[in-house]
């Protein structure tokens, strides 16, 4: 329950902070951003797919259809969507465990994603990884990682390999606001700067690390962390797709041209609790409403209507399409087989005849 009593003790307690102040959204139009009408409809489809996938996944989880953790990305979809909009297909993406959105924008179909949640052999990680470990390396999507902060050096390492081969690929490494307090963040940023690695560290500051408001876990604004390394940095409005596209594009282009790391603090919001077991009592209904009022998907929909990009029917058509796609995905997941027992020993090592100890 959100309290308001005075701070006492070491970590300030009891105070609910306004967790993220959003920069003004961009005033650019879709044309300014080089987006066609079709692009906009495509973006709507991609954003809505992520949303609906998770709404349904949540229902299925609540029905007990699958187990494990389930961390929902709802509210943050502009970030994943903006990223793939500006990246080349062979640019690299890696993120933490709140990863469904990134999977879905990077070639994991709703079917294969849902099957992974169900732990089926047809899942994007063959049922081995579950919700926290969506992978699709064929399309340069490197997962889905569950130890907070541990994938940050992996992102830099992926960029290192690209630089080593003198490929012009850019890596975007997404992480939560909670991960900036990990040692791995610091070590990696120093190394990336020292070695001029073409990697963009994107902190999705959604206001909370589990139940801890950003300002209760980190001693100052996150973008300032870059100053410790003389690293370029920027704060991005993550609730507005156009703003994300504009800022990401500028930074991606710059990093591709002049290889060096960048720190982006994207301010956004997660609508659901940290995971399914979190009632999110640490925040107020008002705060929630404030962000839902600027929902990125609704905002895009409104833009599409207002600018007469498409009529209501067209939007409804996409909505219905996705609805069906997700229902089909659930069917697919439910009808898929679990991995056979012998898969337990598969892919621990490369070889098929590794002499496992008993």
């Amino acid at each position: 329950m959100a309290k308001t009593k005075e701070a006492e003790g070491f970590t300030p307690t009891g105070v609910v902070y306004q967790s993220t102040e959003l920069p003004e959204p961009t005033s650019k139009s879709h044309k300014d951003l080089n987006l066609s009408k079709d692009d906009l409809l495509g973006l709507y489809r991609v954003m809505y797919r992520q949303r609906r996938f998770e709404e349904r996944a949540m229902q299925m989880y609540q029905k007990g259809k699958f187990g494990g953790f389930l961390h929902l990305y709802m509210g943050q979809e502009a970030v994943s969507t903006g990223a793939v909009t500006v990246l080349n297909d062979d640019d690299d993406i890696i993120t933490a465990y709140r990863d469904h959105g990134f999977g879905l924008v990077r070639g994991v179909s709703s079917k294969v994603g849902m099957a992974e949640l169900y732990g089926k052999a047809t899942g994007c990680s063959r049922g081995k990884g579950g919700s926290m470990h969506f992978f699709n390396t064929d399309e340069h999507y490197w997962g889905g990682h569950a130890i907070v902060g541990a994938h940050i050096p992996l992102g830099a390492g992926i960029a290192f390999a690209n630089a080593y081969r003198e490929e012009k690929r850019v890596t975007m490494c997404f992480l939560g606001d909670g991960a900036v307090d990990q040692g791995s963040f610091h070590e990696t940023l120093n190394l990336a700067k020292l070695w001029n690695l073409p990697v963009i560290f994107v902190v999705e500051n959604n206001g909370y690390a589990m139940g801890t408001a950003t300002k209760r876990h980190t001693s100052t604004e996150i973008f300032k962390r870059a100053r410790a390394y003389d690293m370029k940095n920027k704060v991005v409005n993550g609730m507005d797709l156009f703003s994300v596209i504009e800022d990401f594009r500028e930074v991606v282009d710059e990093v591709r041209e002049d290889p060096q790391p960048y720190l982006l603090e994207v301010r956004t919001y997660r609508y659901r609790g940290h995971s399914m077991s979190d009632p999110a009592n640490y925040r107020t209904d008002d705060e929630m409403k404030e962000f839902q009022d600027i929902d990125p998907i609704e905002r895009l929909k409104t833009y599409i209507s207002r600018h007469k990009i498409a009529n209501k029917d067209k939007i409804q058509e996409i909505t219905d399409d996705i609805e069906q796609e997700i229902l089909d995905a659930i069917d697919y997941a439910e009808n898929s087989d679990f991995p056979p027992e012998e898969d337990l020993y598969k892919d621990v090592y490369v070889e098929d005849d590794f002499p496992f100890l008993t």
């Binding site: 187990g67 089926k120 579950g130 569950a146 541990a150 307090d181 791995s184 690390a209 801890t212 876990h217």
Partner: protein, 326 residues
């Protein structure tokens, strides 16, 4: 006697020790305002305030080390890891600083600190979140390691751990937090390092700690139906390990199965099995067998997870094997 959940028993130990001694405090992720990721610390902020019930950032190396420094300088910290899977990034503070500074300083420094939290798997949480770390910590001299299986043991042992002037690793389990047991209402402690015979039997000794104790009892129930009387020993403490009690039992049963939630290589079962063959060779009518995880990371898929996790069936098979029953 009151019936307490495992989490309540732990909380009771924490509350009692914090009331008793102002130098005891607890810190960790979500322990304070959120009342604990698994509600172990529920209500403690209200009672003790933010000075003694402290939320931390996700900085296991940093706050673990701050705990160690605070212990050196006169406090008795209880450091909670949300799970021990996350303690890996802070392990250096445990195995190098907490465990060794007393020794390296020639005994000048006291290290009264408890590192506690859930250990091992908790269902389908995939490979990084499912590791049993007791054998790793037990490997390092300077540490004590406790992994109780039941609320009453947990309470008494945690109180002893908090009062101990050595660093103690205290392991729990998300999956056991809801388990209930009668717990004495009067103040009590349980000495660290004493095993308990929890079921008597003369046919085979089954040694099992932590979550595996409950797998062992299921197996023993089934074995009893088949006319086999298993003796179950719960070591409760992993380090120091009460091998004498195990060997006493083997002198009677001449057969032993060790159930261990670790991967096999160098796990608890390996260590205890080694000691048994060395120190009770002449009493063994069959080799010591172990039931452990396979040497495979935790898979997510339910079909695989269920195969991965040690089952009563495996314990029964191992018991039958050491008794040379078909």
């Amino acid at each position: 006697m009151a019936e307490l959940q495992f989490r309540e028993a732990i909380r009771a130990a924490l509350n009692e020790e914090m009331r008793r001694d102002d130098t005891v405090f607890i810190m960790g992720e979500e322990v304070s305002e959120y009342n604990g990721a698994y509600k172990v610390t529920q209500g403690m902020l209200d009672e003790f305030g933010g000075r003694r019930v402290i939320d931390t950032p996700i900085s296991e190396l940093g706050f673990g080390g701050i705990g160690v420094g605070a212990a050196m300088n006169g406090l008795r910290p209880v450091v909670e890891y949300m799970t021990f899977n996350f303690a890996v990034v802070g392990m250096d503070q445990i195995i190098n600083n907490a465990a060794k500074i007393r020794y390296m300083s020639g005994g000048q420094v006291s290290m009264p600190i408890v590192f506690r939290g859930p250990n091992a798997s908790a269902g389908q949480l995939s490979a990084t979140h499912s590791v049993a770390y007791e054998s790793l910590y037990a490997h390092f001299p300077g540490l004590k390691v406790i992994y109780p299986s039941q609320p009453a043991d947990a309470k008494g042992l945690l109180k002893s751990a908090i009062r101990d002037d050595n660093p103690v690793i205290f392991l729990e389990s998300e999956q056991m937090y809801g388990m209930k047991q009668e717990v004495p209402e009067d103040e009590y402690t349980i000495p660290i390092g004493k095993a308990k015979v929890k079921r008597e039997g003369s046919d085979v000794t089954i040694v099992a700690h932590g979550k595996m104790y409950h797998v062992a009892t299921k197996a023993a129930d089934q074995l009893a139906k088949d006319g086999v009387e298993a003796e179950i020993i719960d070591p409760r403490t992993i380090k120091p390990y009460d091998i004498e009690t195990v060997i006493e039992s083997i002198k009677k049963t001449n057969r032993c199965v060790i159930v261990d939630e670790s991967h096999p290589f160098g796990g608890i079962a390996a260590e205890v099995g080694f000691q048994i063959q060395r120190d009770a060779f002449d009493y063994l009518d069959a080799p010591v067998r172990r039931v452990t995880l396979p040497d495979v990371p935790a898979p997510f898929a339910k079909s695989l997870f269920d195969k991965w996790f040690p089952s009563p069936k495996q314990v029964i098979d191992a018991a039958n094997a050491v008794m040379y029953r078909n």
